[in-house]
Symmetry: C2
Subunit: 113 residues, 2 copies
Amino acid sequence: MKSCSTGESSAEKLIKQRQDLPSEENLYATAEILKALADPTRLKILHLLKKGELCACEIIEVLDKPQPTVSHHLTLLKNAGFLKWRKEGVWIHYQLSHPDIMELVDQITNNIN
Amino acid sequence: MKSCSTGESSAEKLIKQRQDLPSEENLYATAEILKALADPTRLKILHLLKKGELCACEIIEVLDKPQPTVSHHLTLLKNAGFLKWRKEGVWIHYQLSHPDIMELVDQITNNIN
DNA sequence: AATCCATATATCCAAATATTTAAATATATG
DNA sequence: CATATATTTAAATATTTGGATATATGGATT
């Protein structure tokens, strides 16, 4: 049996293919950002914030989940860079740091379906 | 202590905020698509395929991972709708079903960083 | 052509690891 | 001191990895 037609990978081709990939570091970073998006609860939070700033307490109320659960998701979104926040006394107001991010997400899903 | 300023959620506002969210079903589906992207190995595969069709055997070789591992990732990408494939004898040639998908991913990470 | 063999890919399974959830507790603010 | 939020922690669940095995295909041999 011959090798596959696209294959026949010479050592040079193989090296080139590997070199053309983004760095391991870059790929992990990108995956982290996408992981932050890849959860229904966090997508909900981002959708809610499309209309503007919200207090954590309000997000908890709308989602109707325990406070530590919501806090955890907010922290992940914050760490991934999706959220800005503002402290006002005890309250923390969150907003999207990139208001158009959900449009990009929509574009991905529209492409796929 | 007064309630937070954005908060003060009347029952009506709360209901409206919940109604304006995409359906649970839609959110899970979107999360599934994003999960398929949110992995360094799968990002690598998608990057490799930007240059055109590749045989599974070649992907295994470039990634230098055990065959079942690569097969698993290919199946996830297939199921999420990112890959088309073509059987040629024993070989399976994979290609991107949406060749521009990685540009959208790049846009997300560029927005974030 | 029937059988056997080698190879490509997929599936099964279990272990390792990561993520999600939420109760308990800590911290911060007024 | 009461309340908003974060952190700690542990359990439940999901994902990733790769060995073992199954399946599929096609070449070789009889």
